[in-house]
Every structure is written in C-alpha cells, then in structure tokens.
C-alpha cells in the first residue's frame, strides 16, 4: 500500500485488509531486498506473480548461495503442501488407505518414529510434514537461514524423498483432489523440476508422471 504523501512502500498486510488485497504491493527487485529473509520473500513474490512459471521461480539469482536457495524452496514446498494435506484430510481415511502406498510396488514406512512404522496414509502425510517442519526448523541442523551447513545439505534430499510420496499417494489414490490442487498451484510439477534440477532425488523415485503431459504413467492408478 503506497503512502502517497511519503512515497514509501510499506509491504504489509495490515489488519482489515481484504483477502483479495493481500500482498498487493509492487514487487521488489532481489538486489534491493535487505532483510534476512530475502530468499523467502523473493520466492513468494515470484510465485505470486505466476505460479505456473516454474523456471522463473526456480532460477536462483546470480549471487545467491545454492544451499540456502534449495533450503528456502523446500520450506516453501512444505508450506504449500499443507494445502494438499488439508484437502486429503477429509477424504483419506485410515480405513480406506491403511498404508502409505503409491503404486503396488511400494509401501512407504513412516520415518517419524523410532522404528519405521506402517502408518496409514493420512498419518504418514501428517507425520512427514510435521517431521519436515521440525527438521527444517531445527536449530541443530539449520541454525541459520542465511547459510546452510554442508553437513545438513544431505538432509534436504531425504526430506524431498519423503515429501514426494505424498504427491504420489495423492496422484494414485486421490486423483481428483490431486488434479484440483495441481491446477491451483502447479506444485507437483514445480517440485519435480526442482528435485531434478538440483539432483535431490534419484529419477527412479519420481513416479508421478507429471512431466509427461498426456500419458497415463507407468503405474496403475488405484482408486
């Protein structure tokens, strides 16, 4: 909201702002941002501009440290994935989806427990997202948001792998929800491009045929 008399842009969503007016400020160039949460601001800004423009979203500015870039993107993914989890919450019952599966080949065990446990799908989803939140926010592995320890970069890969399973389960078992969500946010496609670009997961694990626009995909889709 510009304050005309002072010509200073205050990027705030003040109380009383209507939903449609949220974030209605002009964009800020990456170089001009000077807070500690620059990367998150920038990513959210580009997504708001166009969530379909994956390349723009994922392309890091030149001076940006790659570790931090990956980390902040992963945070953003986990945050947006909450939307999918909320939609699944209604439909994915423990009685219908007793295990976390995607295709028939794979059953995924939930790593949030001391010994990996076969959680029902909705539990797996929640635990994975909660576990990712704890890990990505933990002071031990990620004490700072402007620099990432080398030893912690490996953790990003495991988080990606687990989070991807939510996509695959939704794709194969709750297709309608998945399609709705994907049309709103293009999240799965962006995620797939993200992990391939930064080599965070092996290709074999990318079982959701998101990049092939037409074909039905390798696995059988189970209702």
């Amino acid at each position: 909201m510009k304050m005309a008399d002072q010509n200073v842009v205050l990027r705030r969503n003040r109380p009383g702002t209507k939903a449609e007016n949220f974030y209605r400020w002009c964009d800020e160039a990456y170089e001009e941002m000077d807070s500690t949460l620059v990367v998150q601001q920038y990513i959210q800004q580009t997504i708001r501009l166009d969530h379909n423009n994956i390349d723009t979203i994922l392309n890091a500015p030149e001076t940006q440290d790659e570790g931090v870039w990956k980390y902040e993107h992963l945070r953003q993914f986990c945050m947006e994935l909450n939307g999918l989890a909320v939609r699944l919450q209604g439909e994915c019952q423990p009685s219908t989806c007793t295990q976390m599966t995607a295709t028939e080949q794979w059953i995924f065990l939930c790593a949030a427990h001391k010994t990996p446990k076969e959680c029902p799908a909705i539990d797996y989803t929640r635990h994975t997202l909660d576990g990712a939140a704890c890990l990505l926010n933990s002071n031990k592995y990620f004490p700072s948001r402007v620099s990432i320890k080398e030893s912690s970069v490996a953790k990003l890969g495991s988080v990606c792998r687990r989070v991807y399973r939510i996509f695959s389960h939704a794709y194969f078992h709750h297709r309608q929800i998945f399609d709705e969500f994907e049309s709103e946010t293009t999240l799965c496609r962006r995620f797939t491009v993200f992990v391939t670009k930064y080599n965070l997961m092996s290709r074999d694990n990318l079982i959701v045929p998101i990049l092939e626009d037409e074909s039905a995909g390798q696995g059988e889709s189970e209702a």
Binding site: P15, G16, N82, N137, S138
Partner: protein
C-alpha cells in the same frame, strides 16, 4: 592341603632325621615344641594377623586422609573468610580516609569554636586548664578531637552501654596511667568496623595506648574531645536513633556492638555532621567516661579490632572525623547499595528474558494465545497451520541460553493464512480465523500427546461460516461463552459456542470503516469495542448493536488515512479504559464513559501492531513492526522494558504479543516464523 601334603612329604623325608633329631633334641624340643605343622600353622596365623593389621592400617589411613582433606577444606574456608574480612577492612580504611578528607574540610574551621564553647558550660574548673591546652593543642589535635567527638556520637547512637564504656574507660585509664601514648593512630582503628571482636578490642586498646602522646596532653585533649563528643552525642540522641536496617543487612559478619554502632550512626552522621558542632551541650555523666575512653576509643570503641591494619595507612589524625565521614560514606554506600539491591530486585522481577524459542512454522506467526492454566500455547501462522506447544517439552540443546520447543500438535484445516486466534475460557477449545473467511473450532488435545500419533479427526471441531472475507479479529468472553469476530467484509459477528445456532448477531459497521480488531468491554457487562482502519473506535452495545460511546479519535488532521489506522484495541480487565495501538506509532488510552482521550504516547519507532494487558491490569505489552516489544506500567505509562525480538520479513516484524493468564510468561509472534516466550 598342598601345604599339608608338602608338610607330610617333608615330614616324611625329614622324619627319620627329624625323629632322630628330635630325640637328640628332646630336651630343647620339649621346651620349644616345634613341629612342621605347628610352624606352618604359626606362620599362617601370623600372616593372617598381619593381613588384618594391614587392612586396619589401610582403613585408618583412609580415615586420616579424609580427615586431612576435611580439615584442609575448613582451613581454606577460614582463609577465605579471613581474606574477605581483610578486604572489608581495607575498604573501610579507604572509606575512612576519604571521609576524613571530607570531614576535615568541613570541620576544620569550626572546630575551634566548639572547643571554646564546651568548657564554660560543662566544667568551669577545667576551663583554664583546658583552654590553653585546647588552644595549644587545637591546631595539632583538632582533627583528633573531632574524631573523638564523632566516636562518642556513634557510641551514643548505638547505645553503647554505660557498663561497657565504664569498663573500657577504666581499662584505658589504667593503661593511660602506665603509658603515654600518641593519639593519632587510633583514628585508624575507627573505620575498621567489621568483624571486630571484643577480645580484639583490648589488644587494640593496648596497642593504641602504647602509641599515645603525653598523658597530660592526652587528658586535656580527652576532655575537650569529651565535651565535643558529648555535644555531638546529645545532638544525636535528641534526634533519636535510627537503625538503618539496610546497613544491618550489609554487614552481617559484624558483632552486634559494632553493628549497632555503625547503623545508627550511619543515618545520623550523614545528617548531622555539620550540625554537630553547633549543638548545645547537655552533659551526660556517662559520657565522662568516654573522654578517657576516647583516646583509646578508636580501638576500644570496637571500631577497629582490625585497626591493626588501619594503623599503618591511617595516617590522618581524625579518627572521629574520619569516622564521621566514613559513617557518612557508609551511609551513602550502604544506602545506595541497598537501594540498588532493592531496585535491582524489583527490576529483576520485572526484567523478562527470552527463554523459549518456538520454531516450526514456515511463515510468519500471526497470532498466539496461552492456555489459561497450563504452560502451553497455540500459535497461528500464515502457513495455514496452528500449532500447540508445551513449554515443558523442550528440545535438549547445547546452547542453553534459550530453549527450543517443538510443537506437540499441528492443526490443519485452514486453506490460507490464519490471522487470529482465541482460546476458550477453560482451554479446551480454540478458535481461529483466517484469510479464507472461516472461523474454525478446534478441540485441543492434551499437551502430553505424542506428536506423531495417529490422526484424530475429533480435533477438528467444525467451523463457523458467515464471514465472506478475511477474519482479522477474534475474542472470546469467558463468562458469556461468546465469541466475537470481525472481518474485512465490514461485519462484526457474535457467536455462541452452542453448536446448533452459533451465529447470534451480525453487526454491520461498514459506515465506520473496515473493522480491524474487536474486544469485549470487561468493565461493563454488555459492550464491545471495535477499532477500524479509519482510526475510528466505537463502543457498541451487544444487544442492540448501536454505538454507545464513540472514542474521540478525530485529533489529527492531514495525516494520511492509512497512518491513522488502528491496528489493535484492547479493553482493560477492570478499569473503564480502552487502549488502542495505531499505525502512527502511538498508543492511546481512552476513557470508556466519556470517550475522551486520556493519554497518547509515541510508543515505538514503527507502527504498533499488538497490545496485551496482563491479567492483573497493571502492565501493558506492545509489539511493533520495529522488531521490539515493550512492557509498560499502566499507572505511570512508563516503559519498564524493551526487548528486541524477531526479524523483519518484508516490512513486518511482530504480529502478536500475549500474557499468560496465570503464569509469568509473555510471548511474541514474529514474521520470521518464530514465536518467543519470555520469563
């Protein structure tokens, strides 16, 4: 057994010889009765005995070593104590020196007058004797007399009993009779007030006496000093003795006498140093002893068993004077010290430090709310989740300055940022309003559950729909069990927690602007106050929806409309006071009955985003986008503490602050996805 067998073998082999030998040696053998088994037995027996003794020795040795260690420890303790006392003495010496300097300056001019004044009143006969001596000695003994005066004063003040004075004076007299001693060095003894023993006083007196000057001079001086001191004492006595309790606290290690001596003297001397000289004299016969004592007084009065040390550095003449100054000094020091202690204690009580950091959200935390009784809180974030935190479950962390907490439960249900939060009165339910226009009800699970437990759909308690735009304000009234919400669709709605027909009332308030925050008015029973983005703030009646009082906010002209927005309104729990936080950095206080502005103050460097009043109604907490939260005392409207917390994202920093209703916690919610709890 081997031994036995070996015995047998030996015996067997030796037997023939042994038998022969024995027979040959019968006589000696009869006497001695040696046999191999016997010998072996004996050797074994002896060995066993030695072993036993050895073990006993070991035991004793261990005991003795323990004892040695213990005694060593004790010795160290005593040494430390001694060092402390020595240090204290040195401090007092130093203080005394300073006091002397001061007092010397003060008293130097007036001392003559005093000397002249006293004799006529008290002891006429001695005048003649005294005066020349006094005059002669005044110059040299001025300070000394002064110091004696002061000493007497102090004695008087502490109620130094007459018997002791008599005793001392007698002792001194006898010593004086024996020795002529210098007076001067006694002064040093006075400042050493700490830790004096009665036993030490005598040796001090002795020492002191040894160093005396000629007795005659001494006596003359004594009498002069006596009079002056008596004057002083009288003055002081008339003033009444105040025991400075602070002083008592300051020096627990002192003996009672010294203790009492110091403490009353302390306030008195501070007041009376200048006045003492000018006082009229009512001789107290008891104090006659004092002059005699005076010479030794510095030591004898018990000021300085530690005066041994004082002797050396003492240097200056004016024990009493120095003592007075010292007393002054101690007054101020102790008064200051205790003042500081009390104030720091208070400050300490009021000083909040960050204790817990709640990290788990992915985006800014927009609202937070404490549980009414337990040390748990719920945060609501722009990442569309709410999280339940238990402050007793912290993550073990190496950096112990601030403990990290992980959430116990994550509430998922909103499809967009959650903007506001309210907790029910009993802590079972919480209500959240979001950008999607819904108010969701959550049944709060126990704070001890496993975060990775199965999903329990019962946690989702339903949602209240009605608003058509982002819900910005939520507040819950414990007694009425009603929920009040305001949204960007320009309505304020009243809900009841009864599930069947939750929406009770919709107040259309768009003519005042878009509501930004609502609160129930606690002081009266049927009103709520609502603040708008147009800087209006109105108290409405709950039943009719009509405005009751319009708070007079039309004060500034010419400022842009945005800057006049009110971000937050809170109602005082007991007083008819409403407090608003504005985008123009001000916090304003309003009277509910008249609608008038009570006070307006610039509270922060940037807009004020959140306010919270403590449950007792004494403090106000405010958070701002300038990254600081400030604690204000409500009666004086003074800021008692400022805490810098949270980092900026875009131009936003702190969204919400809260007090715990029953425990000493305060919390702040930031745009950097953190929530912090302070104790």
């Amino acid at each position: 057994m081997d031994e036995a067998s070996s015995q047998n073998q030996l015996g067997g082999s030796a037997n023939p010889a042994g038998v022969a030998n024995r027979q040959n040696l019968e006589e000696p053998s009869q006497r001695i009765q040696y046999s191999i088994p016997g010998i072996l037995h004996f050797i074994q027996h002896e060995w066993a005995r030695f072993e036993m003794e050895r073990s006993q020795w070991e035991l004793e040795r261990a005991e003795l070593q323990a004892k040695i260690a213990f005694l060593n420890g004790e010795r160290k303790g005593q040494e430390n104590l001694k060092n402390d006392l020595v240090r204290r003495i040195k401090m007092l010496e130093y203080a005394l020196k300073q006091e002397r300097a001061k007092y010397h300056k003060l008293k130097y001019g007036t001392d003559l007058v005093q000397g002249d004044m006293n004799p006529p009143v008290e002891e006429g006969g001695e005048e003649g004797r005294v005066d020349p001596d006094a005059i002669l000695s005044t110059n040299t003994n001025v300070s000394w007399k002064q110091s004696r005066h002061l000493l007497r004063q102090y004695l008087q003040e502490i109620g130094y009993t007459d018997t002791i004075i008599d005793l001392r004076s007698n002792r001194v007299r006898s010593l004086l009779g024996i020795d002529g001693g210098g007076n001067e060095e006694n002064h040093n003894s006075t400042p050493a007030m700490n830790g004096s023993d009665t036993t030490k006083r005598q040796p001090d007196a002795n020492r002191w006496n040894v160093t005396k000057k000629t007795p005659s001079c001494l006596e003359a001086q004594i009498q002069d000093a006596e009079r002056a001191v008596i004057d002083n004492f009288e003055f002081l006595r008339s003033e009444g003795m105040e025991m400075d309790d602070d002083d008592d606290e300051e020096e627990p290690e002192e003996e009672e006498d010294v203790h009492r001596l110091k403490s009353p003297k302390v306030p008195k001397v501070a007041l009376d140093v200048d006045d003492v000289d000018g006082e009229s004299v009512d001789l107290d016969p008891d104090f006659r002893f004092l002059p005699d004592v005076e010479d030794t007084s510095p030591g004898v009065l018990g000021f300085g068993p530690g005066s041994r040390r004082v002797y050396g550095p003492g240097g200056e003449e004016d024990a009493l004077e120095g003592l007075g100054e010292l007393a002054q000094l101690t007054v101020t020091n102790e008064a200051d010290a205790t003042y500081d202690i009390s104030s720091t204690k208070e400050n300490f009580r009021k000083t909040w430090t960050a204790k817990y950091t709640l990290r788990s959200h992915f985006d800014g935390v927009r609202a937070l709310c404490f549980h009414p009784q337990e040390p748990t809180l719920i945060t609501a974030s722009e990442d569309a989740t709410l999280k339940l935190w238990n402050l007793q479950k912290t993550v073990p962390a190496k950096k112990s300055a601030s403990l990290d907490v992980e959430p116990v439960y994550t509430f998922r249900g909103h499809l967009g940022s959650v903007l506001c939060l309210a907790m029910s009165g009993d802590g079972d339910k919480c209500y959240s309003g979001g950008i999607d226009g819904t108010i969701r009800i959550w049944n709060i699970p126990s704070s001890n559950i496993d975060p990775y437990d199965s999903y329990d759909p019962c946690v989702v308690g339903g949602s209240l729909s009605g608003h058509t735009d982002a819900v910005w304000g939520l507040t819950y009234h414990g007694q009425r069990q009603h929920l009040l919400s305001c949204a960007a669709d320009s309505t304020v709605r009243l809900w009841s927690t009864d599930a069947r027909s939750p929406l009770l009332y919709t107040y259309a308030v768009e003519k005042d602007g878009i509501p930004t925050s609502v609160d129930f008015v606690y002081e009266s029973s049927n009103q709520f106050v609502c603040s708008f983005n147009t800087a209006n703030c109105v108290i409405f009646d709950l039943e009719t929806g009509k405005p009751v009082t319009r708070l007079d906010t039309e004060t500034e002209q010419g400022s842009s409309s945005i800057s006049r927005q009110i971000n937050r309104v809170v109602s005082h729990p007991t007083l008819p006071l409403t407090i608003t936080g504005h985008e123009d950095r001000h916090i304003r206080f309003w009277d509910n009955n008249s609608g008038r502005l009570v006070q307006s103050m610039v509270a922060h460097l940037d807009s004020v985003t959140s306010l919270a009043v403590d449950p007792n109604g004494l403090y106000l907490l405010s958070g701002s986008h300038d990254c600081s939260i400030r604690l204000w005392q409500l009666d004086s409207k003074q800021c008692v503490q400022e805490i810098t917390a949270h980092r900026k994202k875009f131009d936003e920093s702190i969204f919400d602050v809260a007090f715990h209703p029953s425990k000493p916690f305060i919390a702040s919610a930031g745009a950097d996805a953190l929530a912090k709890v302070f104790v």
